[in-house]
Amino acid sequence: MNCSEWEERLALYWAGDLDAEEAVRTQRHLAECPGCQVFLSGLKSGLHWLQEAHSEEPSPAHFAAVRARVLGELRAERQPFWRRKLLYGLAAAALLLAWTAGLRLQTPGPPAVALSRPPVVAQALAAPPVRESVMPAPGADRPVLSRHPRLVKTEPVMVRVVTDNPDVVIYWIADKKGE
């Protein structure tokens, strides 16, 4: 058996994991083999080094965090069913409100409305004044006709609606009696 075949036995021998008979055989071999002695020495150093590294534990805060999570979950499970549902419902309502508020902030405002009278359109639509004759009531004195009959002008009004889209402009034309 060459030394590489003794390696796993030596690895067990170091920690006392060999049975009595195997341990004695390994001990005899060690006494005669400097290579295996060096191997065993390296094995001991390496594993002792790991054991010292293992003794350095995480900070107490990490342990406290686990305890807090466990106890928090156990306390939450103890709440009555209706109370848990109420809390979930309130949380859902708060989320919905927040989402709706966010939507309203993003929604664009109503388009600006401006009254305007483009000169060309106004002239085309200007109607001649209407003469209003005053007819006397039967039996009444003859009215005095004024030299200037009252004229009632109907002026059309054009409403120009400006939208957010610059390519879209709405014109709304309506009759409007003079006030």
């Binding site: 796993e8 067990l12 920690a15």
Partner: protein, 204 residues
């Protein structure tokens, strides 16, 4: 031959405010109180065994975050099985078993371990050893040493050589025979010895 750094004296353990559960009677009374819904009693139980669970999970998984998740899972399972563990001969044996199984489940969701060659390259290329603190370097070498092992080898080495369980206790925790555990441990020790020597040889 690679020269390993001088062994330092073990650092002082941090003190924990724990009322020791010395005997089975103490443990039974605390478990009884916890079963009755006393969360303070359960917290006392957690403080007694949290090091066992979190550190074992950390060595098996290599990630503190994953180890904390596993620890949470293990203690919740403990709470829900207090009646079962009260009758168990060893609460620590039960906890080791549940921790190992929980780590299996966690690892299924994670990438595979690094190969020996890759681990050696990672160890030397990633950081200048002189810039790491001594504790940081020890922690890093420990983590890399465990990463080159197979899952079974890692479990056997962590439980036997780091946590100090006997071979028969390790076999019970892992659900294997003692012969299988011995074979896994011997392979693991040889691999770790080779990795540590190679690491410090490259460093010199």
């Amino acid at each position: 031959m690679a020269v390993l750094p001088d062994r330092k004296e073990p650092s002082a353990l941090s003190l924990a405010i724990v009322v020791p559960l010395d005997g089975p009677e103490d443990r039974c009374s605390v478990i009884d109180a916890a079963k009755a819904g006393d969360l303070l009693a359960f917290e006392q139980l957690m403080r007694q065994y949290e090091r066992l669970v979190l550190v074992t999970a950390l060595r098996l998984l290599g990630s503190l975050e994953d180890a904390q998740d596993v620890s949470q899972e293990v203690f919740l399972k403990l709470y829900r099985n207090l009646g079962k563990v009260q009758g168990a001969a060893s609460l620590s044996g039960w906890l080791y078993r549940v921790t190992v199984n929980a780590c299996h489940d966690s690892r299924r969701r994670r990438p595979a371990s690094v190969s020996m060659e890759d681990a050696g390259d990672l160890a030397t290329a990633a950081a200048d050893p002189q810039q790491l603190s001594a504790a940081g370097e020890r922690s890093r070498v420990l983590e890399m040493s465990l990463r080159i092992l197979s899952q079974k080898e890692r479990e056997a080495l962590v439980l036997r050589d780091l946590e100090g369980l006997s071979t028969s206790e390790v076999a019970r925790v892992l659900g294997s025979s003692e012969a299988t555990v011995r074979s896994q441990i011997s392979k693991a020790r040889v691999k770790v010895k080779g990795f540590v020597e190679r690491y410090f040889r490259r460093r010199v």
